[in-house]
Symmetry: C2
Subunit: 419 residues, 2 copies
Amino acid sequence: MLENPGKSIEGGVCAPSGYQAHAVECGIKDVNNPRLDLGLIYSTEPACSVGVFTTNRIKAAPVKVSQNHLKATEVQAFLSNSGNANACTGADGVQDAKSCAKIVAKELGINMRQVAICSTGVIGLPLPIERMEAKLPELVAGLTSTNAQADIFAKSIMTSDTRQKEVAIEIEIDGKPVRIGACAKGAGMIKPSMATMLCFVTTDVKLPKESLQKAVLEATEQTFNRISIDGDMSTNDTVLLMANGASGVEIKRRNGKDCKLFNAGLRYVLDQLAREIVLDGEKVTKFVTLEVKNASSYLNAKKVAEAVANSPLVKCAWNGDDPNWGRVIHAVGYSRASLQEELIDIYWEKELACKGGKLGPASIAKLREVASKRAFTLTIDLNMGESDYTMYTSDLSPEYVDYNRSEYSYWKAVERNQG
Amino acid sequence: MLENPGKSIEGGVCAPSGYQAHAVECGIKDVNNPRLDLGLIYSTEPACSVGVFTTNRIKAAPVKVSQNHLKATEVQAFLSNSGNANACTGADGVQDAKSCAKIVAKELGINMRQVAICSTGVIGLPLPIERMEAKLPELVAGLTSTNAQADIFAKSIMTSDTRQKEVAIEIEIDGKPVRIGACAKGAGMIKPSMATMLCFVTTDVKLPKESLQKAVLEATEQTFNRISIDGDMSTNDTVLLMANGASGVEIKRRNGKDCKLFNAGLRYVLDQLAREIVLDGEKVTKFVTLEVKNASSYLNAKKVAEAVANSPLVKCAWNGDDPNWGRVIHAVGYSRASLQEELIDIYWEKELACKGGKLGPASIAKLREVASKRAFTLTIDLNMGESDYTMYTSDLSPEYVDYNRSEYSYWKAVERNQG
């Protein structure tokens, strides 16, 4: 568990100074049963924004639009909808995303390129653009800077999430308090690198754009890129970060101690959200901290961790409270990492299930005790070198499959979208 | 569906001339409830044998032993046990495998290196070697060459399979009949390349060892390496092929038409078994023929096929009769294949669900009709080049997870193995 370099505070994206948020029910998720599904975060002062996006070669329209906007200018507003991914919607999808940005910008009195946009939900259906266009003025009009509003925004980005995920911390820079606030959604399609996950981060410190970009890339690599629920990767994954300087504090030196402190704070915030995402994974019953130790290289450690974290048979065993080290080592073997079978040790917490590639001294009773816990650490020591890699991952449950075979079906989404 | 270059005949590994088989109940699967779990195939005449083995870096002891024996000499007997994989058992596991080969060889009057050995079942437990050693003389004594004996052998290699899998064909070479017989086991951990699958092939034609090795490698690549059930790959996968020339027919020219005919026959036999393995996959309800067409290269076609075939979310959708092309295209996108979103077409049989990366003209009703079938073909046309790749794959069911969270647990295996 990472240490908090500052202190936790109440709220989410409105905890830092100079931010407002709001969300409305637009009928994107379900036209006959409206829920919060259209949200906005706005910095009342000019801000510097950066993003990290999905590496899926099929990118949703809002990803393409936001990437362009972030390159072109200083984004000051984040618009988000759930219920429809606006992915695989061709030129019309891009047009729809731009049209939304345009309306929001007009209402806010900024340039349309100062609006970044995110979507999450079903792939392949056009956005209900008339309904959205009609709701956008109301969305902008309702912006305020309370924690309650940040909560409403955090709720509006949820899809199969069961609860909103918000974190805020305060750190001290130059003797003055600055804040980082964030919210995220996750649940399904969670895999390195990134997932159907959206994350919005705000801070009231001021940083050079390069430092901000570096900070969010590094923090994402160490947090969201190390979680896995079902081994899938979405078309929409996005982390957006906005820094407005409203605290009056500016970090000028790129690699100085203030910058490092900010980076540590950002990493802590994203790490908290990454944990939350796994804990709230679709029908998840286990939170597994998977440690790969002493690999011959960073890449080998990562390969082993990802192979184990994504093995359906390993995940089924976790679901069944089964300390099945044979399934773990078989996934280690097909990871393509360089390894020596006779050096591999596997632990459930402190219990040595496999020693030197063979049955270890731990008793079945002790192993089952650990495997039955809601959360445990599984350690694979390759005893080959000095590289480590840690991931947060989950089990695979019959309920996950049942949920994804029915609840989120394409044709039900079509039905829900028909106005 | 491949065409049979000859005709189907009754039986399995004893259909070709000069082969005997037998199997016994040894209590390896469950000491208190013995089932067939120890089997033997024997060529009564000197034979030429070759094998293809798992590419998992953790290889089971019998894999290591068999690889050495096949390199050293002409193997004439295949010994197999189910219920215990003899994997991750260290030097003792190798010793146990050799000890079994030694006893069988002594009873048959051949060299111990003329015995290849396969194991399948739980990983990480020592073989119940005393029980096995005690049963081996009875196993050898019972060898006969009937189809009924071949059936018993085919049953003895089953683990979570629900039925035995046998194929035999007769082809004509030089105007004379020669036969190829085979059996296989599959069920879980099925993924390219290879799976927890064992396959034993016999033929009564005579071929040079190099031709035989090439034939089995190519046929495996085109069949067993193109199936996927759960995306896992085992430590024990093995295909063994024995050719004894008992038909009196010898193929001398390495790439002549007789050799090609034999290769086609072998490929047909393995293709039939590959289909059987998917159809009998653990708790499988769908048989999906996944065609990737017009990729820019063979490797790109393969990447796309494997990404889609192994995506849990795609497989859940198949289980739910859901023509969810969005999940298919998202897996296409993360496959790392080179592609252009706006060129991708996706079909459920003849129904165009996605055209040019967007919603296609097919009606939801027609798509659901196809997606509800027990078996259907899903075609992904990348429209980029001329390379195709086809796989056989299956859905992922809640029952699969439930089965693998409990039935095959490590601690239950430990209990079943305690004498």
